[in-house]
Structure formats: C-alpha cells, structure tokens
Symmetry: C2
Subunit: 230 residues, 2 copies
C-alpha cells in the first residue's frame, strides 16, 4: 500500500517560491501564526474575504499548505482576522475620557472623534467590516453594536448633563439622536476610505463642524423628541 514513496523522491530543484524579498526563515508556531494573521488582515481588507489562500500564502512567503497547519479552514482564518482587527479596535480609554467632566463637551467630543476616526475608522477596518457585513455570516455584529450602543448612550447623557437638559425615556430615540453625530462622522470615513471622496477638508475641521452642529442643536433636538413622545 505504500505506492509512491520512492517514486516521488525529489529535491527542490529550482529556487524557492519566494525569490524576491522574503527569505523563508523558520519560525516558531506562535510567531508564524501572528505573522500570517497580520498579513492576512491587510490581504482580506484589500481583496475581500473571498480572496484565495494561495495568494495569501504567496504574500506571506510560505506554501499554501502551511496555512492549514494553523487554521483548520479558511473560514476560521477569516474569523480570527475579524476578531483581532474589528472587535479589538475599540479603546476602553475612550469611555473614560468622554466622561471626564473637567473638560468641555466640545473638547471631549472633538478629541474623541479625531482619535476614533484615525485609529478605528481606517481603510482596513472599514473594508473588513463592510465585507463582513455584506457576507451573510454576521461574524459578531452583536458585540460591535453593543459597544456602539454604550458609546452613544454615554455621549448623550454627558452632553445632556452639560447642556442641563433631561433626556426622554425612550432609549431607542436617545440612541437615534446620538447617531446624528456618530453616523455623520462614520459616513465621512466611509466616503473617504471606501468611496475615495471627501479628501479636501482635513479631518480636524470636519470633526469641528460636525461636533459644533451637534452641540448647537442638541437642546432643541432633545426637547422636540420629548414633545413628540407624548
């Protein structure tokens, strides 16, 4: 039953598959896995979650077969990329800073959204998130949405406190009001990184415009919403 053990005794006659750049150095398990995940996140962000394992392996400078020593299936690999790059992109410190009442709300919001846009709403993050959203398998949308929900509620209650207004009871409406600012900023990042538009006005100025508009209309918006409910 050992048919071809002798027949296929071949050496690597030609040069390795990676002529340029990457010398295939041997790496311990954990390191190689980390390297694959690192490269894979850029790779899938660029070419979509359906991009081929062969090209990814090539980009890593390793054989395609080796990928399967670390991840049982391609789907597992994609899921790990998603967990690391998407879910892991939220900083807990933002929640703390947004509730630091020694600073003005305009200051807190401006700084937060500048940071958030630069660090989380990157091209890579947005593309991965969008590819994942479009694929039926909703990787882990609940976790994301619960983070954003919390964020919106913190922003709304902090702003209400500074403005001296009381929020209505309906939490869906509260969140929707928070989305006026958060959605506008998110959409700015989307059209910048996904639509390749809106490059003219620098981030700081955009954030300032958005935050100002939000704060100026805040009291009125909350009051309208409260009246509407009754």
């Amino acid at each position: 039953m050992k048919a071809k053990s002798d027949a296929l005794r071949k050496r690597t006659r030609k040069n390795g598959p990676e002529a340029e750049g990457g010398t295939t150095t041997r790496l311990p398990h954990a390191e190689r896995k980390a390297q694959i995940l690192e490269i894979a996140s850029d790779f899938f962000a660029d070419y979509g979650l359906t991009a081929q394992t062969r090209r990814l392996a090539e980009e890593c400078g390793i054989s395609q077969r080796l990928l399967y020593r670390f991840f049982p299936t391609k789907e597992d690999l994609v899921a790990e990329v998603y967990r690391k790059e998407i879910v892991g992109a939220f900083k807990a410190v933002w929640f703390v800073e947004l509730q630091d009442r020694s600073r003005s709300m305009e200051d807190r919001l401006s700084h937060f959204y500048e940071d958030y846009t630069e660090q989380t709403l990157t091209r890579k993050w947005l593309r991965l998130f969008m590819y994942a959203s479009l694929s039926e398998s909703s990787m882990a949308p609940d976790y994301i949405s619960s983070i954003i929900t919390q964020l919106l509620e913190v922003i709304m209650s902090e702003t209400a406190a500074e403005c001296g207004v009381e929020l209505p009871d309906d939490r869906d409406v509260i969140r929707e009001m928070g989305w006026t600012l958060h959605g506008a900023i998110s959409h700015y990042a989307i059209r910048r990184h996904l639509y390749h538009a809106s490059q003219a006005v620098p981030l700081k100025r955009v954030v300032k415009i958005q935050v100002r508009l939000f704060l100026n209309g805040f009291a009125d918006m909350v009051q309208s919403a409260a009246e509407e409910t009754g």
Copy 2:
C-alpha cells in the same frame, strides 16, 4: 386557448431546469434581456458581484449558456446592472422640489429625505453600490459623486437663503457642511440595510430629528466656518 395548451404540452424532456414557477417560455431578445437584468440586479445585490453565472441562470430559469447570447462577458452584465440600478436611481424632480421656495426648508428637506431614503437608499441599491465601491473597478463613481455634489450645493444654498445667511467661498467646506445631514441620513440607511440595525425608530421620525438638528445649527455652523477661513 390553443396557445396555452400548447405551452403546457411543451415540457422539456426530462426534469426541466425550473420545476416550480417559471415555465421556460420563449421570449424575444429584448424582453429576455430585460428579464435577465431585472433578476440579475437582485441576484448580485444578494450574493455579490462575484456570484456565479450558473446560479443566476438557474434563477432566471434559463441555461447558463443563454446569458452569453446577451452579454459578451460577465463583467459586461454586471456593468449594465450597475448602470441601470445605481446611476438610474436619482430622480431629477428632487432638484426641482428642493428649490421650491413656496415651501419651508424643513418641509422640503423632510420630504426629500423620506423619498430619497425609501426610493434610492434601498437594500438593493446600497448593497450594489457597496460591492462596487469595494471592488477595484470604480464603475462610475464620478457620475454619482457629481450628482451628490450638485445636490449638496442646492441644499446648502437653499437653506442659506431661507436662513438669511451668506455661505463662505470655499466650496469644499460648503459641501462638507451639506454632508452633515446627507451623511447622517445615508449612514442611517447603511446601518439599517447593511448592518441590520437601527430598526426601532421609524424613518419619518429619524428624518425629522436629523433635519431639525441641521436647521437649528445651520446659521451657527456657517458662521463658524466663515470665521475659520480668514
């Protein structure tokens, strides 16, 4: 009628490709092509621009080969779907209505964004547009962006007229201010149809919140922008 019974007699020899529903009736060229485009737009919106021609053909109730009687390549088919569904989704009447100064700006904006969200920012439109944006081939983004640019400028100048303020010279900044509203509404549609979130508050109310916030903060936003420039 005779024709009908004939049609029923006519069964493909074995199990026809479509057992349920679609009888493979012979259609003239133009009709069949229109039918394919119609089904293809839903199909590609659901499964992405990389979805397979065989499944599309199955959904149309025709053989895969027949697709190539109408479209030289799959790419051409996708491009036609894009042109029909994405570019063709903007109504010229919106521009007229937005400039009807017999109505209040709040009224005009509310009605426009309700219409626009319901008729253009649909699940199908958003998914097709996003798939196209993510693929490197930027189908026709210039056309879209020029429409939106015009729209933003109309909204900004009409609102400025009603509020009795003067817009700054920098058209990039003017557009960015228009994006505060347009982006927030667009993002509402995105999270509703692409992220499957934000279903709780009905469209009318969301539009009202967004439009109110925009109009309340408008004069202040424009003034801040004008000061900033100098």
